[in-house]
């Protein structure tokens, strides 16, 4: 190896050494994998579609394969092919509501119904279902949300509750997109029945162990009914 080669090797390694900090800085520019050419989440903005939404709406008047068998009471709350009775006050005749749950309601269903009711219904209908939800109290000036303890709604078939959740009613919007699973809507309907029963039930059916909560008012009123969901019970006191 002559002296020239040694010099070149030395210069090369010096250049390499000096460029090391540069490499470190380059490592900071990680745009390659950080931002990939894909729709990275369902709410990503799209430059392709005019409405800038990357998630697309289903084509109107179409039904995906396997979606909503229209005549099944489980999906509609209606008696299939029933004729005659018009039930809604919005002028839309939808058919006749079933008055039986399309499956055997278990305690699991009631608990699920309670949780779903407290999330989606209680802001307006209140945790008791009396129509005194926080949002309704604060702002519903023209029309109050339904009170489930009226005679009309106690006598109402369960299919009606399912239908109202699915399609909306009066000023209430459809909750089909919020509660996409029909089972959850049935569970809510079942829980509405629980609430109705709770307000009509005689004292004799209250278990002895819970009697104290009813008779002692005040101090322990942090409401055990929906334990574990504090801001639906405390009403969001500030």
């Amino acid at each position: 190896m002559n002296i020239d080669n040694i010099r070149i090797t030395f210069r090369k390694s010096l250049a390499g050494l000096l460029s090391l900090p540069l490499l470190v800085m380059l490592a900071g520019c990680h745009t390659d994998m950080w931002v990939q050419k894909k729709v990275d989440h369902p709410f990503a903005r799209s430059t392709f579609f005019p409405d800038q939404s990357s998630a697309r709406m289903p084509v109107s008047h179409t039904v995906a394969i396997g979606q909503v068998p229209y005549n099944d009471p489980y999906d509609t709350g209606m008696i299939p092919n029933a004729t005659g009775v018009s039930v809604t006050e919005t002028g839309v005749s939808r058919g006749r509501f079933v008055n039986a749950f399309p499956f055997k309601v278990t305690k699991q269903d009631l608990l699920r119904g309670q949780s779903q009711f407290n999330i989606y219904c209680s802001p307006c209908h209140g945790v008791l279902g009396d129509g005194n939800g926080m949002v309704a109290i604060r702002g519903f000036v023209h029309q109050k949300p339904a009170n489930f303890h009226t005679e009309r709604l106690i006598k109402s078939p369960v299919g009606r509750f399912f239908d109202v959740i699915t399609n909306g009613y009066g000023i209430m919007y459809s909750y089909a997109s919020s509660i996409p699973n029909p089972r959850d809507r049935w569970d809510i309907a079942a829980y509405i029945r629980v609430l109705q029963f709770s307000q009509q039930a005689p004292l004799s059916v209250v278990p002895k162990s819970r009697m104290k909560e009813l008779t002692s008012s005040g101090s322990d009123a942090s409401n055990p009914v929906v334990s574990g969901e504090p801001y639906t019970t405390s009403g969001g006191a500030q």
Binding site: F43, S177, G228, Y231
Partner: protein
């Protein structure tokens, strides 16, 4: 001519060698400080939004559950942003003439979604899944902070990988009963270390593999 450098300059020369340590050290330290500063991480920096939505008002004052709007958080990788339909399910009745809500009404009329500015963003090579965390007892506030007290929403944590690993290496410190996941005011009990271990067993959270690369990256 007098000497420019006195003998004591020898000490200074030796001391100046320290600069070789201090300057690179300082540069590295400054780099770390900058990368962890809110300037880089956006932690505690409220973002401007098309509508000045207040979680403090909706969650804390009105008591609306997280899932009323972030409805897919239990079943999907994405918590979900509310559609305009969801906003209007109350705001067709409440605050109907507010100029602040004009973009919402416009969006409902035209079908063009509101463009919210993303508060929390992960690199595209991270495959985070909300549903598994929620179902295994990791509360919203562990990662998002007390959103229920934010007027304009901001990022509460850095979302650095080291920060994720803090929990993935020792979930017992952070896991809580499932019915407390959406409780934004949850306080860990003093016996969290034992409770956490019990919950890990009953929720089938296995520490082995939680730090495997493929858990989050693929």
């Amino acid at each position: 001519m007098a000497q420019v450098f006195k003998p004591s300059a020898n000490h200074l020369a030796r001391l100046s060698l320290l600069a070789f340590v201090i300057i690179p050290g300082g540069l590295v330290g400054a780099g770390i400080a900058v990368s962890r500063s809110p300037w880089n991480t956006n932690v505690n920096v409220p973002l401007n939004q098309p509508v000045p939505f207040s979680h403090e008002h909706h969650v804390n004052e009105l008591g609306i559950d997280c899932r009323y709007c972030h409805k897919t958080v239990e079943n999907s990788p994405y918590a979900g942003m509310p559609s305009t339909h969801t906003c209007m399910s109350c705001h067709s009745q409440v605050w109907t003439n507010s100029p602040l809500l004009k973009p919402v009404r416009e969006s409902y009329k035209t079908g063009v979604p509101l463009v919210w500015n993303r508060v929390t963003s992960l690199p595209d090579f991270v495959y985070f899944d909300h549903s598994i965390h929620v179902r295994k007892g990791i509360g919203c506030d562990v990662c998002h902070g007390q959103v229920n007290h934010m007027n304009i929403t901001f990022k509460a944590k850095t979302f650095f990988m080291a920060w994720c690993l803090k929990c993935h290496r020792d979930p017992a410190k952070f896991i809580r009963p499932k019915n407390q996941v959406f409780n934004m005011e949850y306080r860990y009990p003093p016996d969290q270390s034992t409770l956490g271990k019990e919950l890990m067993i009953s929720y089938h959270v296995h520490k082995n593999g939680l730090t495997d690369c493929s858990v989050c990256h693929r």
